[in-house]
Amino acid sequence: MQLPPALHARLAGAPGAAAPLPVQRDALAGNAPFRFAARQVRFPREHEFFEDGDVQRHLYLQDVITQVAAEPERPRVPEFTCQVAGCCQAFDALEDYEHHYHTLHGNVCSYCRRAFPSGHLLDTHIQEWHDSLFQILAERQDMYQCLVEGCTEKFRTSRDRKQHLVAHHLYPADFRFDKPRKGSRPASQVSTEAAGEDRAPSEGDAMEVCSEHAEAPPEPPRERRVYGHRVPSTICFGQGASRGFKSTKKRSKRP
C-alpha cells in the first residue's frame, strides 16, 4: 500500500478541511433492487466485529500477568546520598532516589520549606498561606479553591472544602497526600497540610490536603505540642523546615 508522499507532510501541517465538492444526488440512486445508503455504523461491546482486536488485547494481558506474577528484579547500585543541602538520606536504588527527590525536594515552598506532591498544590499553598491579601479577601468571599484540578468550586473555609472533597470527589474521609505512619512522625513524609506550628491560617487547616484523624476524636493537644518541634533522627534537615507534623488542632490565627 503506497501512500502519496505529500500525506506525511499533510499530517504535520495545519488543521483544516477541504472545501467540499458539490453534492448532487439522483433519485434513482439506491433504488430497488439496489440498497446502498451511506450510513455510520456503531458496534456494541459483544459484537463479533471486535473479536480480533479483543483477542490481541487479551494475549497482551496474559503476557503481562505472567510477568507480574514473577518476582521483580531490583537493580541495586552502590549506596549514595541525596545531594540536596541538608538532606542526607541514603539510597541503594535509583527508583527510590527518584521518588524521594520528587516528593521531598520537588515542589518546595520557598517561604516555609514545605514540600508538595505537585506544582498545583504548591501554588495553592503559597496563595493560602503566604499571601496576606488572601486572608483579607477570605473574610469576605469564598476563597478556598477545590484541590481537584478542573473543579471550580470555592469555599469559605478549608473545612468546607475538605467536606466537598470527601463528598464530591470521593476522597477517603481521612485522605492524605503524604504518608505519616500512625503513632509516629516519620521524617520522610511530605507535609502538605497546614498544621505546622508556625502558621495556621484561619480555621483549622487551610491547605488541608492531609489530615490524619478526620472524624476521630482529636488527640490531646499536649501530646501534639511535645512532638511539635522534634525532628526524627532518621533524617536530617538543615534548614528548619518543620515537616510531618500533623494535627487537626486549631491554631492561633495568622496575622
Binding site: L7, L21, D26, E51, D63, I65, E95
Partner: protein
C-alpha cells in the same frame, strides 16, 4: 506495561516454533471464550498466565489474621525490607480467589492499600500496585465496587503529579487503569458501574491521561484507552463524553500515533491504536458529534491522513485490525462531503484500492467507503474515474464472495448513474461476462440483472 520490568518470560527449553504453537493455542482458547461470552472471565486470563509463571507453585490461601498482619507490617514495619516482604506475601496470597474475598471483606483493607499506593516509598507503591493488579482478578463484583471510590481519589492524587511522572507513579497508574478496565467489563457495568464513573471526575482524568504530548505514557494510555472503549461501547451517556472533549482529544491522539508509527516500528503501538480507533468510530455515530461548526465537530482532514498511515501500519503489523480502521473510515466519510473530498484531494483513492486484495471483510469495507464517495454525485464520481477503479472492480466481480460482489455491483450502479462513459467502458472491458456468473445467485440476481440492463440501455 510494567516498564522496566518487562522481559519476555519463557518457560525454559522452549523453541521458537513451540512458542508460536503455544500462542496459537492461546489465541484459539481466547476466541472460543469470547464467543461463549466468557472472555471477560478473569479466571481465564489468570489460569493461562499463571500456569506458565508459577510452574506448579502452590498458592497459599491467607486467612483474616494473616492478611491483617501483613497489612500491619506493610504499613508500620520499621525496616523497609520487612514492609516489602509483607506486601509480597500478601500479593502471593491474593492470587487465590479465597484470599481475595477475605481481603475485601476485611474492614479498612482497601483503605490501607490506597495508603500504600500513595506512599512515598517507591517499592511499596510498586508492590501495592501489584496487589491491586491481583485483586482485579477477583470474580467478585464487590471488589470492583470497593475499588471505585479509591480509583477517583488515586487518579486525583496521581494527576497532581502529571508534570513530573516518575516510574512508581506510572506503574500505579497502569495498575489502576487495568483494574478499572476489568471493572468496566463486568456484566453489570452498564447499569451500575458506568453511570457511577460518568458521574465522577474519572472521565476528565482519563481524557487527560490520553492527551498527546511528551507526557503521554504508552502503558498507561493503553489501559485507560481500553477503559474508555468499554464505557463508550456500552452507550450509557456518550454525549457527556463528547461535551468533555473526547472527540478532540482522541482525534489529536490519533494524529500523534500516526506520527509515532512513522518514527518507530515499535511493537505495542497497535495496542493503543485499536481502542482509540474504536472510541472515535463509535463516538462519531452520536448525534452530539454532528453539530457542524461546533467545537466538538471533528472536521480535520489530518485525521484522514493519520488513519491511512495507520492502515498501512496495520497492513504490516496487524492485518486483523484493518477492518476496524476501515470501519472508522466509513464513519468519517458516510455523511461528510468534506471528508469524501479530502479522500480525493489527498490522493487516497488508489491506496484504498490496493487494500482490496487483503480479505473479503476488508474488501467489503473498502467498497463501502468508495460507495460513500460515489453516492455524493457526479462531482465525486468524476474523480473516481477512470484510473484503477474499473479494472479493480472487474477483478472483484471475478470473486465468489457474495457480499464483495454485491458491494461491487452497488458501486457500479452509482458510477453508471453519475459518470458518463462508465457503462460504455464497462461493456468494452467484458463487464457483462463478468456479471454473468452471478446471475443465479439468490442475493445478487436482482441487482445483477438491473445492472446489466443499465449498462446495455442506459
Amino acid at each position: 506495561m510494567w516498564r522496566g520490568r518487562r522481559g519476555l518470560l519463557r518457560p525454559s527449553g522452549c523453541g521458537v516454533e513451540e512458542l508460536r504453537c503455544r500462542r496459537r493455542e492461546r489465541e484459539a482458547a481466547l476466541r472460543k471464550a469470547r464467543r461463549e461470552q466468557q472472555l471477560v472471565s478473569k479466571r481465564l486470563l489468570r489460569d493461562e498466565a499463571t500456569e506458565e509463571a508459577e510452574g506448579g507453585r502452590v498458592v497459599v490461601i491467607l486467612g483474616e489474621a494473616q492478611i491483617q498482619e501483613f497489612l500491619r507490617l506493610a504499613q508500620r514495619g520499621i525496616e523497609e525490607k520487612e514492609r516489602e516482604r509483607a506486601l509480597v506475601s500478601l500479593r502471593r496470597g491474593l492470587q487465590h480467589p479465597e484470599t481475595q474475598q477475605t481481603f475485601i471483606r476485611l474492614e479498612g483493607s482497601i483503605r490501607t492499600l490506597v495508603g500504600l499506593l500513595t506512599s512515598n516509598k517507591a517499592l511499596l507503591q510498586l508492590e501495592a500496585a501489584r496487589c491491586l493488579h491481583e485483586l482485579s482478578h477477583s470474580e467478585q463484583s464487590a471488589v470492583a465496587e470497593a475499588c471505585l471510590p479509591a480509583t477517583s481519589y488515586l487518579l486525583t492524587y496521581l494527576s497532581g503529579h502529571s508534570s513530573d511522572f516518575i516510574s512508581p507513579h506510572l506503574t500505579v497508574l497502569e495498575a489502576l487503569g487495568y483494574a478499572l478496565s476489568q471493572l468496566l467489563q463486568a456484566k453489570e457495568a452498564p447499569e451500575k458501574i458506568i453511570p457511577l464513573v460518568l458521574g465522577s471526575t474519572l472521565p476528565q482524568h482519563i481524557l487527560q491521561l490520553l492527551q498527546p504530548g511528551p507526557k503521554l505514557n504508552l502503558g498507561v494510555a493503553v489501559e485507560f484507552a481500553w477503559c474508555l472503549h468499554y464505557i463508550i461501547c456500552s452507550q450509557v451517556n456518550n454525549a457527556l463524553l463528547i461535551t468533555q472533549g473526547a472527540l478532540t482529544t482522541l482525534g489529536l491522539l490519533l494524529l500523534d500515533l500516526a506520527a509515532a508509527v512513522q518514527r518507530t516500528e515499535d511493537a505495542g503501538l497497535e495496542l493503543l491504536v485499536c481502542p482509540v480507533v474504536r472510541c472515535l468510530s463509535n463516538l462519531l455515530t452520536e448525534a452530539a458529534a454532528e453539530t457542524v461548526g461546533g467545537p466538538m465537530h471533528l472536521q480535520d482532514e489530518r485525521v484522514l491522513a493519520a488513519l491511512f498511515i495507520l492502515l498501512q501500519f496495520f497492513l504490516h503489523k496487524q492485518p486483523s485490525l484493518l477492518p476496524e480502521g476501515l470501519w472508522l473510515l466509513n464513519n468519517l466519510t458516510a455523511n461528510s462531503p468534506s471528508f469524501c473530498t479530502s479522500l480525493i484531494s489527498l490522493d487516497l483513492i488508489e491506496p484504498l484500492l490496493h487494500l482490496l486484495s487483503v480479505s473479503n471483510v476488508v474488501s467489503v469495507l473498502v467498497l463501502t467507503v468508495l460507495c460513500n464517495v460515489a453516492e455524493k454525485g457526479p462531482a465525486y464520481c468524476q474523480h473516481l474515474w477512470p484510473g484503477l477503479l474499473l479494472p479493480t472492480l472487474l477483478d472483484t466481480l471475478a470473486l465468489s464472495d457474495t457480499e464483495v460482489v454485491g458491494q461491487s455491483v452497488e458501486l457500479l450502479q452509482l458510477l453508471f448513474l453519475y459518470q458518463p462513459g462508465a457503462a460504455q467502458a464497462f461493456l468494452q472491458q467484458s463487464g457483462l461476462q463478468a456479471l454473468q456468473r452471478h446471475e443465479e445467485v439468490a442475493q445478487l440476481q436482482d441487482r445483477v440483472h438491473a445492472l446489466q440492463q443499465t449498462a446495455l440501455h442506459g
